[in-house]
Amino acid sequence: MPVIEVTNLHKRYGDKVAVDDVSFTVEQGEIFGILGPNGAGKTTTVECIGGLRHPDGGKVRVLGLDPRQAELRQRLGIQLQESELPERLKVWEALDLYSSFYRSPADWNHLIDELGLAEKRDTAYKKLSGGQKQRLSVALALVGNPEVAILDELTTGLDPQARRDTWDLVEQIRARGVTILLVTHFMEEAERLCDRIAVIDAGQVVAIDSPAGLVARVNDEQRITFRPAAPVDDKLLLDLPEVTGVTRAGARLVVTGTGNALAAVTSVLAQHQVVAHELRVEQANLDDAFVQLTGRALHD
């Protein structure tokens, strides 16, 4: 049984359609990403999954339950975008308070250590840095020992180091057996963390696949550039079935190809004992995939 099942979800605010038609399933133990530009309907989708909003159409099931059922609150942890705590509330008080809401809460003392908040235990919420607030927010989503965690725009506003730390944290959470639904508009984050991604644009799912699968769908052409240590005959490379073209840029060779072009090129160079200096491979990435799928860039 899938952990999250969304079927033809539809949600509008007045005349404005926020989510037109979204369907996907998330399996046990997955990190499932929802990727899309601002206003695509990502947050509304997860709010319907979390029971914070009621869909106008379609069906949502989480752990087999309707999101409105109170039982689900015991088993689902949500980290909300732009949700704060009282300024003077201390870190330990927040965790102590929230853990008291659940039937079988996690040991919050342990959670404080795990999330690197031990030194900030007695610090008031307003004195925490952005990264620390975010970690506390994640801790509160986990304090009920949930089977499913929804993390919405987890790393927005964090500096690069804090972002990487948070990514490690998400992987740790998954290692505990928690199924994670991750909402993001950062390509790098989706690529690094997610097993599968649903690309959402204008309230609709345009693709669901693994990050590599999404990229492969779009274009599997590679550009291999290097500076050969000895002269290389273009024909040698053009004879390879994987290679589609060779151009020269000064001392550098630019080889375009598909499939396993890189392996083919390097092995033919090795056969002729030519060392390839400054070897670089450029591949279509998730950004390119996104542009191709939605007809526009994620960040513009």
Partner: protein, 244 residues
């Protein structure tokens, strides 16, 4: 219930941690009484006050300060802040209903009002010989009905205002009106008779407090009107209140 207790304990700590706010809400009326009482003329019986002293005449207005500050300022601003910052919304993702936070705020501010008034009555009695409320039950009834009417109006302000700042703005007219008719800005003997009569029915009902304290007991009609305002405003607040 366990969650309500826990939420109330934590919210009480937060209330006390805001030292300036807690101090002013609870101690300010007593402090004003001490300052005014230090002036001999205000401790002398006068015909203007029906043979009473100014301090006897003015203590009900000090109760109004407490109820208006806590009910129409402290509490609604706190609740609107909680909504604006997504604190109520976050709570709604847990097994606990965010209504617990609302109840906790009502309890805490209600208790603060009781402490402030007990302090005022005791200091009045011990320092200035102001008699204890002559009609204790009537006094408690007016305090509850009048307090409830102001707290309920505060909830309406918290319900209709989208942000903490605007909740203060929405609550301000209610605050000023209750303070003005409560004789806080101008002692009531300086107000024209018709304003005084209107004031009898403006929450929290300063005349009823006066009657219960040093007079012949509160008039039932005034009590009924305060209770009616409390119920009506609570219904409006419940209809309009949003968690996010």
């Amino acid at each position: 219930m366990a969650a309500l207790v826990k939420v109330t304990v934590v919210e009480s700590r937060l209330f006390l941690r805001d030292v300036a706010n807690a101090f002013f809400a609870v101690a300010l009326p007593s402090l004003i009484l001490v300052i005014l009482g230090a002036i001999p003329a205000l401790r002398t019986p006068d015909e203007t006050f029906g043979g009473q002293r100014f301090v006897d005449f003015f203590v009900p207005s000090l109760v109004v300060i407490t109820l208006a500050t806590l009910g129409v300022n402290t509490m609604p601003v706190r609740l609107a802040t909680y909504r604006e910052k997504g604190i109520l919304r976050r709570l709604s993702t847990t097994p606990v209903n965010p209504a617990n936070l609302l109840i906790a705020q009502l309890l805490i501010n209600g208790v603060a009002a009781i402490v402030a008034v007990v302090l005022l009555v005791l200091i009045g009695r011990l320092v200035f010989d102001i008699p204890l409320p002559q009609h204790p039950l009537g006094f408690v009834a007016v305090f509850i009905a009048g307090g409830a009417s102001l707290f309920a109006l505060g909830l309406v302000a918290a319900a209709v205002a989208p942000t903490a700042r605007s909740s203060a703005a929405v609550a301000l007219p209610i605050f000023f009106v209750s303070m003005f008719f409560g004789g806080v800005y101008l002692p009531r003997f300086l107000l024209p008779e018709f304003l005084v009569r209107i004031g009898d029915y403006v929450p929290p009902g300063v005349q009823a407090l006066q009657d219960a304290w040093t007079g012949t007991g509160p008039e039932p009609l005034q009590l009924v009107i305060m209770a009616a305002i409390a119920v009506a405003a609570s219904v409006v607040a419940a209809r309009l209140f949003r968690w996010e």
